[in-house]
Subunit: 653 residues, 2 copies
Amino acid sequence: MTVLSLATSFLLQSGIWFALICAIIGLGAALYLIRLIFAQSPGNDRMRQIAAAIEEGAKAYLNRQIISVSIIAVVIFVLLAFTRDLFTAAGFCIGAVCSMLAGYVGMRVAVISNCRTAQAATKSQESALRVAFNGGAVTGLLVVALALLSVGLFFLICKAVLPLDKAVGSMVGLALGASLISVFARLGGGIYTKAADVGADLVGKIESNLEEDDPRNPATIADNVGDNVGDCAGMAADVFETYAVSIIGAILVGFLTLPNTPEAIIYPFLLGGISVIGAIAGIFYVNVRKTKPGRVLVEAVLASALVSAILYWPITTLLFPQTHSPQQIYLAALIGLLMTGIIVAITNYYTATEFSPVRKIARASETGHATNIIAGLAIGQHATALPVIFIALAILSSYYFAGLYGIATAVTSMLSMAGIIISLDAFGPITDNAGGVAVMSDLPKETRMITDELDAVGNTMKAVTKGYAIASAGLAALVLFGSYVSELRAHFGQIGGHDIGPFEFSLERPQIIIGLFLGGLLPFLFSAFSLEAVGKAAGAVVKEVRRQLAAKPGILKGTDLPEYGACVDIVTKAALREMIVPALLPVVFVLVAAFFGYVVLGGLLVGTIVTGLFVAISMTSGGGAWDNAKKYIEEGNFGGKGSFAHQDRPLIR
Amino acid sequence: MTVLSLATSFLLQSGIWFALICAIIGLGAALYLIRLIFAQSPGNDRMRQIAAAIEEGAKAYLNRQIISVSIIAVVIFVLLAFTRDLFTAAGFCIGAVCSMLAGYVGMRVAVISNCRTAQAATKSQESALRVAFNGGAVTGLLVVALALLSVGLFFLICKAVLPLDKAVGSMVGLALGASLISVFARLGGGIYTKAADVGADLVGKIESNLEEDDPRNPATIADNVGDNVGDCAGMAADVFETYAVSIIGAILVGFLTLPNTPEAIIYPFLLGGISVIGAIAGIFYVNVRKTKPGRVLVEAVLASALVSAILYWPITTLLFPQTHSPQQIYLAALIGLLMTGIIVAITNYYTATEFSPVRKIARASETGHATNIIAGLAIGQHATALPVIFIALAILSSYYFAGLYGIATAVTSMLSMAGIIISLDAFGPITDNAGGVAVMSDLPKETRMITDELDAVGNTMKAVTKGYAIASAGLAALVLFGSYVSELRAHFGQIGGHDIGPFEFSLERPQIIIGLFLGGLLPFLFSAFSLEAVGKAAGAVVKEVRRQLAAKPGILKGTDLPEYGACVDIVTKAALREMIVPALLPVVFVLVAAFFGYVVLGGLLVGTIVTGLFVAISMTSGGGAWDNAKKYIEEGNFGGKGSFAHQDRPLIR
């Protein structure tokens, strides 16, 4: 018993240090992977040229994005320093810089990995898979390691010089910094990648009958750049934010709702630290296991979750004294791991070519584009049911095990899986780009077949990551709502019971209904502006491609080179310009709601989660299913490439 | 003062009789209009033939729908009679029969009006407008008159033989009956009309280059039938239900929250009765005013609202004794009228060809179908913002004026405008069909131009009615939530204050969050199943049309007659089969939520309103805007008919 209680007090004292050490191990592993990738051959001159063009476009975009966002960041920094305090402002900087760093370095490595993956594909599928996966794993490791490092170090510093409540409060600055980068990186990257993709396909594939990644398509480099800035840098910043925010949210909830349990503040760090080890285990697994690519990756997630689940147990029982029922808390943590698996499985069902949803869309294409669109919209909406039902079950059960802190624990453990999940996600753009490099540098057909298969797996993995990001963000937002209410009560000195007067968040109050409506509107309006931005930018790309093809007929014959830079420039500018309005929307809505009072603001938060979950899942799952329905037809089903179902050309004329 | 208080007690005693007399006047006006329409010439043989084919298809569908629904109705009747009481069961029958009657008779008159409108269009636009409008007005008058009559008479009977609380409770049966018909008529009609429309257009217009309503298109009769069963019979049943339910909801709220104010139960009837007079005034206005069609109709709504607003004042001041501040209640009633105008204006902006949203979609078509779809989705989502913000303001202000009863009053006055609004809506299918009759019977070009212009106005009116139906249903559902909570408290004897124990609907409770999620899922899943049904049925129509055109090449040359009946049969069967699953969804969800308890059920109700509003508005406004973007291009913009923007054929090949 003495040994045990010694271990308990040791964990309580140095739990954060443990997490920091794990984070540093994670950074070391990322560095090791970078060295591994650099040691690979980047292929022939043509391949290096194309990779360099993609790299240049991606760097140019990200540099301009950083400059734009930095201006806004400086304004917010000054505001925070004056209205709150220097610690909160410093936290803001740290959050913003680390989030940016994870996305930036990760994307640079991803871009470097693409030609190396293509080159490895000339040898074997296995080596191509490993190069691509290791490239993506750098981003995954950077996200969790930097998030844990920044939150942990900043908390240690704050705790050393400030009283505990102030220290916890300053963490909000770090969360805000991560949020700022997240909104802009995800939005800008998203607009960039979709506009380039739609623009390239509309003229290139449909009007001019070119293959994907055909070097004669003037928008092809922009398309490849888009995958990196959107799915790699954008998603990294997005999940970095959710991860950092949910650890901070868990600390807040632990501090506010369990004031006599200091363990509750340490536990989220321990979960995060252990999961870095779990992620490394998963990465190792991919590098030794030999089987089909889709299977290896799913197994790696399971391996990673299993290692985490096993290591959670001793830590949880050691940290929490017997009176606090470590079993209950451990079960809440397990729910987070389980939810990751469930969401992966559900999204996989709705977006992979093996299952009926994708095939239904493909079949609907036989009767024209209208029935295709109707089927895709329907599948997207269908796909919301299971995730939302499981999220509801996760809320119920983790709340049952440990109250609001139970939900916070489940969210933290779910998000601590980000290391392995983001590795899968960043695998997507690398294989997509590897396919592009292979096509553009005329590598043999077998090589392309390998990259094509990896690309299809990448498509599903991208959709899976989005499902994971949405579900975890939904749960994290609930924790934020809980900590918002707890802090209101703590601040205004009215804790517990029913006698909460002005802070009653009852559905019977018109303020709550209005908050729910305003909050519910936010995802729809955000989506409307983002869609509009993509449509406008894609239209501009279409016009530019048409102009180039008309001005230089040699491009299509292969005797003239297209100006790739023109399309890259159009989407870069469009993404940076169009992301401003949607990025401001949440700020404006929060200010308006706050004007009506704390209760309306609380309703707004919940309303945003309610509609946001559905809008987001229906769009990402529907999008993934549409994308793979196309691939399913291209595999030769329903007439295959060039058939009515594929090209949408009238049968009877 | 004695005269005034005499009048007050007279109104209190015979307010319901006043409403019944107004309803009978409304029925009389409908009969008069039917006689007027029958007096019109139905045109030449060919026109009568086509109208007869449409009539036959519509009757056949509605008869089969009635048989299917009747089976379900009998089961529910027996269940109600055994689990509740005979009065509730009888109410259920009355609600179902009256709702069905309004839609059935209205649709029969609409079908009779189509060839008469086409014939009138050979004379002048004005006379065509009046025939079509009067045909639609029959449905409008039937909806409000039958709803008022059934609710009023049934309430009088119940009150005479039951204690007041039981009498009020039995009204729920009537609401349930109306709901049953509403769900099936709207769903079945909706699936029918959209499947026939998409199917007819995909092969007819796009593959075979036929004009709208070309008699060589085998799906053209099904398309015309669809407009009647969907927009006329379906919408009539839908609004009948919302109207009946909201009067009953207002009675319930008045009874439960203002137990010492018997006036509160009478007032909804008075609002309804007056508005029948308002609707007749609006109908009269259309028959005497000479100006552009779109303008006449909007002015008629204003005239109708003005008459109602003026007549509301004396009734309100007389009914409510000075102590109950009749001004406040009058203001709440005005908010309902105002909301009708605001929703009409907003929907008009988003769906009429004169404004930028429709033109943006038309412009986006220049760069291909993908940018067109993206633009349409974005406009649909944009279109949710203003209605929801105004609904929020209406809730705030009417609650401010008279609490929950204020919201109930606003909803009742908004829905009492249904007489004139449904007249506009049913005008849509009549003009659409008149255009069909004109094209198919080769009437001169000038006649078709008249029917085309009326048809475009009808499109906007259909979208406007949908916006009105959605907004009023959203508000009505809030009243239902209020009466649900009030009844729970009354039933379990815990009225008022904070000490409400198990019936606290706070956002902090996981049960409420889960209820919100489940409720939020319902509209998405309902929409998913409905979309899927439309897509499948449309695909079947496409295949049938292709089969007929391939089997009999003479059809396209005009030497062979297509088998219209085959397409009518396909959509009839598909609509009846496919409506079952989505119609069952709400029942299943309510049962599941009820299993988790009253609180989850309350959360479910609100969650459904939150996402339902957005999903519904984005779909109807987006749909209306898309439809009119097509018409805008067909008017000669962005290249006009047959251009790239219109036909979506690649520019470069």
